[in-house]
């Protein structure tokens, strides 16, 4: 799917640029895109290293385990394939907490740590596991309580009520996240049924 999307974006872009004689903007877009990617990766070094450092302290002190105990039933329901006392569960919970607290730039490092630990449970190393798909579903929908960036931008544009969108955002994000969880479960079940069927045929 990622291959299809990538091919589509590249080829349709090149085709449209050729048809409309915008080859020079295309070349510029190409270099800007590549440069941005490197800038983003280097930008990530700072924030990922920082939060992984803090996480190590939180883990060593037992804070993560304490939080995990509280949200365990919910996490168990979301990630049935991850053993509750596996380190991956701690990172999954930390990532979830960061999203909910609105610590957007902490959520990514913690999510990547969770991916790394889920990979140790994964049997096919180049294929996403069920738990990885759920983690992605939650993070692409990104449950947000306080949209800090948007409040800031609205303030900049002299909004009379910069934080007046908070309740609306909560409602929208709640609907979207529920949809993401539902869709993830739906496709997971379908994939499992398909696998079962091929196994039956093989037997």
């Amino acid at each position: 799917m990622m291959n299809v999307i990538w091919g589509f974006l590249m080829l349709s872009g090149i085709a449209v640029a050729a048809a409309t004689g915008r080859m020079d903007t295309l070349t510029q877009g190409l270099f800007n895109g590549a440069k941005d990617a490197v800038v983003v990766s280097f930008g990530l070094i700072s924030i990922i290293s920082f939060w992984l450092g803090m996480m190590q302290i939180a883990e060593r002190s037992g804070l993560i385990r304490a939080v995990a105990r509280v949200v365990r039933p919910f996490a168990k329901w979301l990630y049935p394939s991850v053993p509750v006392d596996h380190p991956a569960m701690g990172s999954l919970i930390a990532n979830m907490s960061a999203n909910i607290l609105g610590l957007g730039n902490a959520a990514t490092p913690l999510g990547l740590k969770a991916m790394d630990e889920l990979q140790s449970l994964n049997q096919e190393k180049d294929t996403a596991s069920d738990a990885m798909c759920t983690l992605l579903a939650l993070n692409t929908a990104s449950l947000t309580l306080i949209p800090a960036t948007m409040i800031g931008l609205r303030l900049e544009f002299h909004s009379k009520n910069p934080s007046g969108i908070v309740v609306d955002t909560m409602l929208a994000t709640l609907i979207a996240t529920s949809a993401a969880i539902f869709l993830d479960r739906f496709y997971r079940r379908r994939a499992r049924r398909k696998r079962q069927r091929t196994m039956d045929i093989a037997a």
Binding site: A17, S49, L52, M54, A58, R60, S61, M132, I146, L153
Partner: protein
């Protein structure tokens, strides 16, 4: 009314303080432990460069060539029939593929319509209630070398569709 802004600004320092205070209480060597964890950050970030270059070049080409505008024109009639405001269409299509790009569109909408207009508020909610799906997929799967994303891409993009409609609906329902 800026209690919420205040609270959200308080969230980061209080989380950091909580982690450090509990660390001290449990006699964790703070500095050494931090360094131990932070070491892994460099490799993780550098490993992402190839995937990010591939994706960000494709998105940049797609936008700068005018292909995005073409796509917007193509789906416009359908979405207008579903009562989706046509001013928000570029934002809805750009939101899942480029975070910086969609933020630029929001800024533009604020300039034309004002942040407190119906369109301005819907744009705020749409930008704030979702994340850049393509970026998240690239970074998360890229970091551990997953090549087969299975149904994750489908789930991510479908929930973006839900998110776009939910943003319009939420502002619509909650307007006084």
């Amino acid at each position: 009314m800026n209690v919420l802004t205040f609270l959200s600004n308080l969230m980061l320092p209080s989380t950091l303080a909580l982690i450090l205070v509990i660390g001290i209480m449990r006699r964790v060597p703070l500095f050494d432990t931090f360094i131990e964890g932070a070491k892994e950050g460099f490799g993780t970030s550098i490993n992402l460069i190839p995937q990010l270059i591939a994706m960000m070049v494709a998105v940049s080409i797609f936008r700068s060539s005018g292909a995005l505008t073409l796509l917007i024109h193509a789906v416009q009639p359908l979405l207008v029939r579903l009562h989706f405001p046509s001013e928000l269409l570029p934002l809805a299509l750009l939101r899942p593929i480029s975070g910086a790009g969609s933020l630029a569109v929001v800024t533009d909408l604020f300039k034309t319509h004002g942040p407190d207009s119906l369109i301005g508020r819907m744009a705020s909610v749409m930008q704030g209630s979702s994340d850049t799906t393509l970026y998240v997929l690239t970074v998360y799967f890229g970091s551990v070398g997953i090549r087969n994303a299975r149904y994750a891409v489908k789930v991510g993009l479908l929930s973006d569709l839900v998110s776009a409609f939910a943003s319009v609906l939420a502002v619509y329902l909650l307007q006084k």
